[in-house]
Amino acid sequence: MIDIVGNRKWFFLISICLLVPGIISMLAFGFKLGIDFSSGTVMTLRFSQQVEQGVLRQQMAQLGYDDATIQKTSEGDFLVRTRDINSDEKVALIDGLEKGLNTDVTIRDLETVSPVVASEVARNAAIAVLVASIFMILYIAFAFRHMPSPFKWGFSAVIALLHDVLIVMGIFSILGWLIGYQVDSMFIVAMLTIVGFAINNTCVVYDRIRENVRKGISRDFAVTVNSSILETIARCVNTSLVVILTGLALFLFGGVTIQQFIMALLVGVLVGIYDSIFVAGPLLVLWDRGLKTESKAA
């Protein structure tokens, strides 16, 4: 039998290796915030003639947008982000680009968020995350109410969740300065969905542990947990695999509009698999052992 619980310190070590670079990146660089959190205008521009990114940057600078960020999309369009501009400024900008680069410009999509809205969105997103977290913790407490010590189970589940969330946030912080991935309200949506998924997986594992404890398959809690994990492994991996298959199809063929969102989901689901197999269960054992040593000491 594969001993996951026995080797838990190695798996915790892997978790720490995944966590630390992300946390350092978050502390040092923070996130690249989307315009819905930090205000600004983002446009996807399509040019009738091929335009070099450097030339476009130069032209933007000449028009007074020297702090604009410019990215080329996989479809050959340009994603241009500036401070928030109004209709007249936009018309002047497009006009200036058309004349300066001698090409037709179409705005494929445009999003403008003013600073007033941005600060509200950031605040509301924080409230939403808080509210969702409270309800999910209440739910976890409810789900494990029949356990001998519901607090232990609930708390372990929450730590496992925080582990997932922190890893995904860390990866997005790193992707932010590597390839310009942004944290925006859709990222928050992805995170809440991931949390839903992860709780889902953790519930299935814990549910099995609870069942096996009742059946009394072993006196040793660690052994019970280990065989419960092994019994549910196929289910956890397969379910997540299905989401990964469809998500990957969307990521590769679904266009750029929701690529970052899908990326957040995919990373989250992958981390979720790891968490439900190697972290959530072993955490319970760690907690259990800790309590026992404590009670012995007392």
């Binding site: 936009k90 018309v91 925006d184 379910t239 199809a249 063929f253």
Partner: protein, 439 residues
């Protein structure tokens, strides 16, 4: 076959039959719904949030009165501009959400809708000899034109005394556009006094403080007039604005999302391709891994997809890119229920139970896990839907709603379709290898 199974089979057959009828053809009319309702990101259009400057409101009016009036005027303008099915809603105290689905001329529509469009008439100040005064640059010095109304009060002449029947006409000799307007009774009284004292002098016509034209008054005019000095589009917009009335307070755009229709069409094509590839991959995986049970899951998945599409069309649920992503995630959830049942079933078979008993036990035990595990997703969806409007992105609400419907439906198909199909197959095919268990 048990009676309950027969009834269930009948129910599912009717439900699937009804769903197919509802969605084939997709564009066909069913209960007044034609095709799927697409969001702005898929069909193109604009999503605008305006903020009203309530500090500029008439103190005698309440905030609600002002906002209702502004909303009505915007609605009239959008309709007159020719936007199909505009959505205009008040958000919070001083915000107005305007959605213009499918609109191509977003810039123009935005200007038309959000402009205060206060029409004012101003007369020149005159020197001692009665001639119009000019400033250093040789421009007239304007002052608001007033007259004494029917109630003896002095009133400023503005667009609010116009009848709502202004229209664009072409000047007979030059074919230039002009807006013809008519005064109501009160306006006529004021206009008569003003034109009388300004004969042979210019009369300035201002829109939101900008001088549009200053024709010279040739005769005393009572009831009607024209405004010139604009191109065709400006004239058309002005006519619409004069007829809807000027907005009670100035508006500024604080949030805008505009999507070009071609990008929307691209997105639809791409997500259809991606969705199809995703579903094929999932079906392949399920059949390879779970064999016979995988076939059952694939069938259940197809039925799930048919019912989901019918719900999307009939409710109707507005589909966005995020909604499609939610649909894809919900496929995972739908298959998850099947996987939970199958894994349980395999264990029961390994434990040496008969096919029928394994299906029943597998289902009964898995059901608790299916139910519990979806609760958290529901919580996330409800919170997201609740906060969706304040998130600034219309994507959020669409994602939450679609995921909620998808997960709820997946639970439903798990307890009906999967269970029934599995127990029917279990009766027909007894080879345990086909269910992924060594005989």
């Amino acid at each position: 076959m048990k009676t309950s199974d027969t009834l269930l089979l009948l129910f599912i057959a009717v439900l699937v039959g009804f769903s197919i009828w509802a969605i084939v053809p997709l564009e066909g009319d069913r209960f007044g719904r034609q095709g799927l309702t697409l969001g702005l990101d898929l069909k193109g259009g604009a999503y605008l949030v305006y903020e009203a400057d309530l500090s500029k409101k008439d103190p005698s009016q309440t905030v609600d009165q002002v906002m209702t009036s502004v909303l009505n005027k915007i609605e009239r303008r959008a309709n007159a501009f020719g936007v199909k099915e505009p959505i205009i809603q008040r958000q919070g105290e001083n915000r107005i959400l305007v959605q213009l689905p499918g609109e191509k001329n977003v810039d123009e529509a935005k200007k038309l809708i959000g402009q205060v469009a206060l029409l004012e008439f101003k007369e020149t100040t005159t020197d001692i000899s009665g001639q119009p005064q000019t400033d250093d640059k040789g421009e007239y010095i304007w002052t608001i034109a007033t007259g004494v109304g029917s109630d003896g009060q002095t009133k400023e002449l503005t667009g609010k005394y116009l009848k709502p029947n202004s229209r664009v006409e072409l000047k007979s000799n030059t074919n230039e556009p002009e807006v013809a307007f008519e005064w109501n009774d009160e306006g006529a009284i004021l206009f008569e006094q003003i034109t009388k004292r300004n004969i042979n002098k210019p009369l300035g016509i201002f829109l939101d403080g900008q001088l549009i034209s200053y024709p010279t008054v040739r005769a005393v005019i009572k009831s009607a007039g024209i405004i010139e000095g604009m191109d065709m589009k400006e004239a058309q917009n002005l006519a619409i604005q004069l007829n809807s009335g000027s907005l009670d307070v100035p508006l500024t755009v604080i949030l805008e999302q505009t999507v070009d229709a071609t990008l929307g069409a691209d997105s639809i094509k791409k997500s259809v391709v991606a969705g199809a590839i995703g579903i094929i991959l999932v079906i392949l995986f399920m059949i390879l891994y779970y064999r016979m049970a995988g076939v059952v899951a694939a069938l259940a998945l197809i039925i799930y997809g048919i019912i989901l599409t019918a719900i999307f069309k009939l409710v109707p649920v507005t589909l966005t890119m995020a909604g499609i992503a939610a649909g894809v995630v919900s496929i995972g959830m739908a298959v998850d229920a099947n996987i939970l049942i199958f894994e349980r079933m395999k264990e029961e078979l390994r434990a040496g139970r008969t096919m029928g008993a394994a299906v029943d036990a597998g289902f009964n035990r898995a059901w608790l896990a299916i139910r519990d595990s979806n609760v958290t997703t529901f919580i996330a969806c409800i919170v997201l839907f609740w906060f969706g409007d304040t998130f600034g992105a219309f994507m959020v609400k669409g994602f939450a709603l679609t995921l909620f419907i998808g997960v709820a439906l997946s639970m439903f198909t798990a307890i009906t379709v999967s269970r029934l199909l599995l127990s029917l197959t279990a009766r027909a095919v007894k080879n345990t290898w086909l269910y992924g268990v060594k005989a």
